[in-house]
Structures are given as C-alpha cells and as structure tokens.
Symmetry: C2
Subunit: 211 residues, 2 copies
C-alpha cells in the first residue's frame, strides 16, 4: 500500500483564487518566547488550497459542507489525465478511459505546474459546461481538479458549479496530482466538518492498494 498526499501545503504565500488573502497563523503562546508550550490560531478562506465546495456555495439554502455524504468523499476514484490545452469538454471525457462504474474522477492537467508559483494564474484548465452536465448525468459523486476552480475564471453564470452542485456532485478543487499517474486509487477526501460553511479545506489522500 502506498499513500499519496494530493493536497497542497497551507502557507501564507501560497496561490489563492483571485489573490484572496492566504492562510494566517498567529501564535498566542510560543516556546521560543519562553511560554510553556506553543499554540497557534489559524485563519483562512474556506476555499484555500485543496478544498471542497458544498451545494450552498452557489445554491441558496442548499446543504453545507457539514452535510456532504461520506460515501462520496471516500471510495474508489479514477485519476484521468488530460493532455489538452483548452477546457475539458464532454467529447474529451468520451476519449478518456474513465471506467463505466467510476463514481469519483480527478482530472490531472497541465495546471499542476502552477503550484510552483505563488501568483494566481487565470489561464487554468477547467471543465466546460457540457462536461459538467455529462458527469452529473453519469451519476458521478465527486469530481476533482488540479487547480483552484473547476470552472473557467470569471465565468458568468457559474454554470459548471451550478450543474455539478445541483446534481449532487461534490467538487474537489486545488489538488496537486503531479506525483500520481492516471489510473485507479482509493480516495479519502477529508474536509473539515465546519457547520454552516459552504466549503472547507480538505486534506486528501490517494491510496494505491497495489503499488
């Protein structure tokens, strides 16, 4: 068994969507200042780094991150590599070897290289609206991508998010898939269970059961 951490480290200078403030760590108590122990407090946007979107992110009154189904977050997943340089369309999905019974799919694209840079890049690969429709229609439970949004920058309306969230698909954004090859894994996506939040940072592991 081999465990891959496909989440990005949280640090103040990390890239964030549209340059939102990064995570902030403060130390009310610190050994190096003579205190008896070190204690920090953390502040961050709920969509920082590797994170999930819940339906309430775009759908007023819909369930929050505390109501995401565990059986969508945990289970077999397929990493699909996309070599193209445009948004992923429904036709692109048909050309990928996504297994017919796949319930969780993570897209590995050229976005990965953006993690080397603390600036936010707007020209990331995302899903086209017809791909979102196709994934929801297939009964996919969770869809992930390797940069900070599943939808192209400044889309209006937010058709991709709305289609997926209304279709009961968990959106997992901000993955770093550079170290994993395409293929099947066991996914554990573990968002903080923040009551009433529309998203949450999520440490995410891919377990290769037959390395």
């Amino acid at each position: 068994m081999k465990v891959y951490d496909v989440s990005v480290p949280l640090r103040a200078d990390m890239p964030t969507y549209a340059g939102e403030p990064g995570p902030q760590l403060d130390f009310p108590s610190r050994l190096s200042r003579g205190d008896a122990f070190t204690i920090s407090t953390l502040s961050l946007g709920s969509h920082t780094g590797t994170h999930v979107d819940a339906p309430s992110h775009f759908l007023d009154g819909a369930p929050g991150v505390d109501n995401l189904p565990l059986d969508a977050l945990v289970g077999p997943a397929y990493v699909a590599e996309f070599g193209g340089d445009t948004h992923i369309t429904a036709a692109d999905l048909d050309s990928m070897a996504i297994p017919g019974d796949c319930q969780r799919v993570l897209f590995k694209t050229r976005n990965g290289r953006f993690w080397d840079d603390s600036a936010f890049h707007t020209d990331f690969i995302a899903l086209a609206p017809d791909a979102a429709r196709s994934l929801a229609d297939r009964g996919i439970r969770l869809v992930g991508i390797d940069y900070l949004s599943i939808e192209q920058f400044q889309a209006s309306p937010h058709e991709v998010h709305e289609t997926l969230l209304a279709g009961g698909v968990v959106i997992l954004e901000g993955l770093d898939l550079r170290r994993v090859a395409s293929g099947g894994y066991f996914l554990v996506c573990a968002p903080l269970n923040v009551v009433g939040a529309e998203g949450a940072p999520a440490r995410t592991f891919l377990i290769d059961q037959n390395p």
Copy 2:
C-alpha cells in the same frame, strides 16, 4: 466497507480546551444578501475539536504538523475500550487486548459523553505518564483519545505530551468514538497541512473493512 466519521463537527459553541474561543465563521459574500455566491472565512485554534499535536507543540525547534509522517496517520488501528474512571496506566494497557503488532491505538473512554455539552470538562480520562512511556516503548506511531487532551488537566510538567512527542508518537485528540466498537479498523487521520503549525484540526475516519 463502512466509513465512520470519528471527528467532531466544528461550530462556535463547541467545547474547547479550557474554554478557548470556538471556531468563527464569517461571510464576506453571501447568496442570501444578494451576492453571486457564498464565501466564508474560518478562524480557529489549531487544537480545536479533533486535532493532532506535532512535536513542536511542546518541544522547541521540533518538527511541526507539516512534517508528520503519512504512514503514522494512515493504516490499521485498534480501538481500545477503557471502562475505568481514573487515568489509564501502563498496567491498564496490559489488561487491554491491544494486538502486539498494533501501531495506532485509539482509547474509547467515558469521555465521549462530554461531547453532548458545550462546556469544557476538566475531569476527563487521560493517559498516566507510565502509560505514555509504555506506548512509546512499544513503538506505537499514533495514539488517540476521545476528549481534548491526552494528558490530565493542568499537568505540570507535561510529561505525557513530552514523552509521546519525543518518542515520535503522533497525538490525536478530540475523537468521538461513541459509534464505534472496540476492535480493528483502517484509520485515516487527515490533519490540515499547515506549514509551521504545532497542531492542526484533523478530519478522521475509521474504515471497517469487514462490517
């Protein structure tokens, strides 16, 4: 396969160690106020709810939560039920059916009932120093408990924490084990990977592979 969420929900009125401020959720953008989407920011102590302690919590200059080994956080674990009403001693460990090859042990005690209350209880069951020594000597990689500290309230010195952390044992505190029976599971402890922090909230799942 059955997945148990053994982490506690994060909410403003949850019990916190010594009554520290609870998590705070703010909404810079909100659908219900006419914004195009809902976005929150989260602030919380790094030792809120279900969380891990890294060596740097008590050992100056030691590794932080971003250096916890994945192979301690993920793997087979044993839930050991303790029926006593005092701190768990090394002799108590010997009377539990902890398998000899066990690397991760989670203690289920009468603490669980405290989660029903938003007040912090100081009379929680913890490890006695000789139990911490015994676990470190056995080569345990991770030890968990079902309330907010592995060490009795206001211990001085912090012998239990120091023994475990110096021994390379990951400490997992704030579990809710009420829904799981004693026995073997597959543990996935997924702390936020906060660079430079001495602890982090950790969504934690126990997977029963033969339910």
